[in-house]
């Protein structure tokens, strides 16, 4: 149970929340870990929120489910409202401050803030927000070493144009740099 890491991604439908989780899952699988990815589904999807839970472990994964993830990556305010209380005690919270406009209530969490939409706009690539966030998270937490993640870009983005893969890699590295400098 201890080697298992569970990361929740939450935002609104259309923010690429499920894809972010898939990216991490693919990267971890490529790094030789046991992985599982579980999305919110069905009627839960109506109204526009989306979330997914990624479990990464060295051993066989006991349960892909949890009410209390150790880490949450929150992309918008309603997701913070919904999930702040659910994170495990002394867990980790990564917040997209571009779309979260209130302070955190809990005082036991380790919090990392990053204005991804702002950074993405500054890059001239507003779709890059997710990759920036992923780069920053992986740099800080090392759940999957960033070099390993970079190696798997071609696999994860199979079929997409080279220009798209390049743009996503750039965004990822911007996130990595942000975490190095700010967190």
């Amino acid at each position: 149970m201890d080697s298992e890491k569970q990361v929740l991604f939450a935002g609104f439908g259309g923010q690429g929340v499920l894809s972010m989780g898939k990216f991490l899952t693919y990267a971890a699988m490529g790094a030789g870990k046991n992985v599982s990815w579980l999305p919110s589904y069905g009627a839960e999807m109506r109204g526009g929120t989306a979330n997914c839970l990624v479990t990464i472990a060295d051993d066989e994964i006991s349960s892909p489910l949890t009410e209390h993830p150790g880490m949450a990556i929150i992309l918008n305010r309603p997701s913070l409202d919904r999930f702040e209380d659910k994170i495990k005690p002394n867990g980790t919270l990564v917040i997209n401050t571009s779309l979260v406009d209130r302070p955190i209530v809990r005082d036991d969490l380790t919090v990392f803030e990053i204005p991804v939409n702002q950074i993405a706009d500054d890059m001239g690539n507003s779709h890059a927000a997710n990759m920036i966030l992923l780069g920053a998270c992986l740099q800080k937490t090392n759940i999957v070493p960033t070099e390993k993640a970079l190696q798997h870009f071609e696999v994860i983005f199979k079929g997409k144009k080279q220009s798209i893969i390049k743009r996503n890699k750039e965004a990822f590295l911007v996130g990595v740099e942000y975490a190095k400098e700010n967190w």
Partner: protein, 246 residues
């Protein structure tokens, strides 16, 4: 201060869960306004379907029942036969009414059950994630017609209003749309006419409401209204298909 607009009494203050741009909001309001204007809120029993409006019992402010998928007309029959002076209405989507519930709706109409049906037709299954409906148009892409609906594989879309209008038991059958203000006003008039048909005891009434599903159509709300006008209305013409006078 003069009140010039308010939420109808027949709607609760609950915040709906519908997607941005969903036309359920408009249709719920029209139904509620009609019930209010006819002073029937405390005399009304509504039955909601399995579909995006499965939670309509939280939004309508009168007695509400949840039905198994497609069975609302049968449940409505059970209620109306025992309480004939109530206004009994069902609110159903295209999967609920025209797919799994086809037998129930055809027979409720054939029996001339004095119930009113609001049939929300948006050519797709919203709640379960965008599968094909019996009303999905030829060529339309859905998750179970990923290459576009083909008549060789899935046959043709069903025109429910015309189909039910052929039953003698049908007393008022119409098709309306809510894609622009003029149509919304006409839709409300038609819904009211359906309810009046019921309260006069003339027989079965149904209003088919052409609606949008921006989320599963992959369109913004305004583009969705355009799509409705350009694609749905030509195949599903608006109008009254059966009117029984007293």
């Amino acid at each position: 201060m003069k009140i010039v607009a308010r939420r109808p009494q027949s709607l609760t203050s609950a915040k709906t869960h519908y997607c941005p741009g969903c036309t359920h909001g408009i249709i719920h309001r029209l139904v509620a306004e009609c019930i209010d204007e006819m002073n029937m809120r405390e005399n009304t029993i509504g039955i909601c379907p399995v579909g995006c409006s499965v939670l309509a019992y939280d939004y309508f402010n009168f007695d509400m029942l949840e039905a198994a998928h497609g069975r609302a007309p049968a449940i409505a029959t059970g209620i109306k036969r025992i309480l004939p002076d109530r206004c009994v209405l069902t609110y159903q989507g295209d999967g609920d009414l025209a797919s799994i519930g086809m037998a129930e709706i055809v027979h409720a109409s054939a029996r001339g059950e004095n119930i009113s049906v609001v049939f929300v037709n948006n050519t797709i299954y919203g709640m379960t994630g965008g599968q094909m409906a019996p009303t999905t148009l030829l060529g339309q892409v859905t998750t179970t017609s990923p290459y576009g609906r083909k008549k060789e594989e899935a046959g043709y879309p069903i025109r429910m209003a015309e189909l039910l209008a052929t039953n003698e038991g049908s007393a008022y059958i119409s098709r309306v749309a809510v894609n622009n203000p003029a149509n919304v006003i006409k839709a409300k008039k038609s819904i009211k006419k359906a309810l009046q048909t019921q309260m006069k005891g003339l027989g079965f009434s149904l209003v088919e409401v052409l609606s949008t599903c921006p989320t599963n159509w992959g369109l913004g709300p305004i583009d969705a209204f355009k799509w409705l006008e350009e694609n749905m209305i030509p195949y599903y013409p608006l109008g009254e298909f059966k009117i029984k006078e007293a």
